[in-house]
């Protein structure tokens, strides 16, 4: 398995969920202490469902792909699904041989979104 899988390269070059939302219900932002990268995740929530999400950030290909895959996985899903997700489930989608030193890059978008949902009191 390669470090930079086809999934990562494709999502890095042509992200599908990169951007911002007008009037998002949930916004979260945090920094990766390893590199100082900053990532912001926004989502719109209707009832108990996350209808759509967008991310922005100057970040590495792994964080970018992770954010993109994450928002694809959660679009239209119950917000509770976001809470259950683990970095391992994103890693599976990325199909990549990520070393422990880069796992923070995989996990960052998910932890940002989870913290933002928790802050808004979403289930």
């Amino acid at each position: 398995m390669a470090l930079y899988s086809d999934v990562i390269r494709e999502r890095f070059r042509q992200p599908r969920f990169r951007g911002t939302l007008e009037r998002p219900d949930v916004t979260g932002e945090d920094v990766n202490p390893l590199c100082g990268d900053r990532i912001r995740v926004q989502a719109r929530v209707q009832g108990d469902r996350l209808t759509e999400g967008r991310w922005t950030g100057d970040c590495c290909a792994i964080s970018a792909a992770s954010a993109d895959v994450l928002l694809e996985m959660l679009a239209g899903q119950p917000t509770a699904r976001a809470r259950e997700l683990t970095p391992a489930s994103i890693l599976e989608r990325l199909d990549s041989d990520i070393r422990p030193s880069r796992m923070k890059c995989v996990a960052l978008p998910l932890t940002v979104l989870q913290a933002a949902l928790a802050r808004e009191g979403r289930p």
Binding site: Y4, L34, C60, A61
Partner: protein, 405 residues
């Protein structure tokens, strides 16, 4: 045969492969590799002479003490210090700098000023921020000129009778800028300020004469100069060390102790509480001997040639931005750069796939990154064992980066 080709066989780790490629190690500014003589000296010490130093009245204790103190003499000679009392062993540059900040910090009053620079490594910045927090002192920073030189006119304007400490790097760990150490010291002394130089990126690469430079404190690490981790040096001018209270208490730093007070030991042990890194000192001694045999002028010339070659090889690659002075004579053995559209960590990971080890990120110099308006850089750095072939492999790897993702 170049110095790099002559040295390579002395470094066992350089024979290994990484990701199926012969290792090209270009991260010596973070930590250098070790020659066999250093590894063997540490092993020999543990196999034949290990015991605690100074207090053990038995043969091994005496041998260990002898080795430890011999290392001090070797370091003294290597950096041109006047006396062995001026050489304090620590665990590394960071501990040396914290020692100075603690000990000097205690003598400062609210409103006193500490001058740092925008290119400092966090280890010569954060300890001074802590002093300011605890003592009410004020931190000022020397700004940078384009290309990464210190703005010495601005420095002159920052100095005043309120300045009590000037803490700057001798050589920048990112830009490579060699700062005019002696001039910085001279100007600071004129207003009565002390000077603490971070020499972590200087001593491994340049001839350094601490007496000629004249700083009150000069800090460096063993592991960046072919020695082991866990050993560092603080050179302090004797007359300054003598009037300072020790930073930390413990065994060995005392002459006599009562239940409510203690009398301090002589220099340099006053500043070395607890069991010191004895094996580290033995290893550093071997490293200093290795570098001494090569000659630091030759080391410096060799690394400068590699730096110049790297700047020449990287500059024409599309999308590459280089940082730091363009004149290789004005810089140490580091080359920081970015590739357009590529995060430094992705760049480093992709180079690693080719067996090329470089550093990526903010290099513990976030204020400098903010000044340059970047999140981080890639950084290739050189040591005695690098060759022009290493520079070529780097350039090939960097040229392929933009297509790799």
């Amino acid at each position: 045969m170049s110095l790099g080709e002559r040295c390579r066989p002395d470094f066992p780790i350089l024979t290994r492969a990484v990701n199926g490629h012969p290792l090209v190690y270009l991260d010596s500014a973070a930590s250098s590799q070790k020659p066999a003589s250093v590894i063997e000296a540490i092993q020999r010490y543990y196999e034949t002479s290990h015991a605690n130093v100074h207090r053990s009245i038995h043969t091994l204790g005496e041998e260990a003490t002898e080795r430890y103190e011999a290392a001090r003499d070797a370091v003294r000679a290597f950096i041109g210090a006047r006396t062995r009392e001026e050489i304090v062993f620590t665990r590394g540059t960071t501990e040396s700098l914290n020692l100075v900040a603690q000990a000097v910090g205690r003598t400062l009053r609210p409103g006193d000023e500490i001058v740092v620079s925008e290119l400092e490594h966090h280890s010569n910045l954060v300890p001074w921020q802590m002093v300011c927090r605890d003592r009410g002192t004020v931190l000022k920073a020397i700004p940078l000129l384009p290309e990464g030189y210190l703005d010495l006119d601005a420095y002159a304007r920052l100095l005043s009778p309120r300045t009590r400490m000037v803490a700057v790097a001798h050589v920048s760990n990112v830009l490579g800028t060699i700062n005019p150490a002696a001039q910085i010291v001279e100007q600071a002394h004129r207003v009565g300020a002390l000077v603490c130089l971070d020499g972590a990126q200087a001593v491994p690469h340049l001839p350094v004469d601490v007496t000629a430079i004249g700083a009150d404190f000069y800090a460096f690490s063993g592991h960046k100069m072919l020695g082991p981790t866990g050993i560092g040096v603080l050179h302090g001018r004797r007359e300054v060390l003598e009037r300072l209270e020790p930073a930390w208490g413990g065994g060995e730093m005392i002459k006599e102790v009562w239940i409510d007070h203690a009398q301090w030991n002589d220099l340099p042990w006053r500043f070395e509480p607890g069991t010191p890194p004895i094996a580290g000192a033995v290893g550093l001694h071997a490293a200093v001997e290795y570098l001494g045999k090569l000659g630091m002028a030759q080391v410096s010339a060799h690394e400068q040639a590699l730096t110049a070659a790297a700047l020449d090889a990287l500059a024409p690659i599309p999308g590459v931005t280089l940082y730091g002075p363009r004149n290789p004579e004005m810089r140490g053995a580091v080359v920081a750069f970015n590739v357009e559209g590529l995060h430094p960590h992705d760049g480093a990971a992709l180079l690693d796939q080719r067996g090329i080890a470089v550093r990526a990120g903010h290099h513990c110099a976030q204020p400098l990154m903010k000044r340059l308006r970047i999140a981080g850089t890639l950084r290739a750095s050189f040591s005695v064992y690098n060759t022009i072939q290493d520079v070529q492999r780097l350039a090939e790897g960097v040229a392929a980066l933009r297509e790799a993702l």
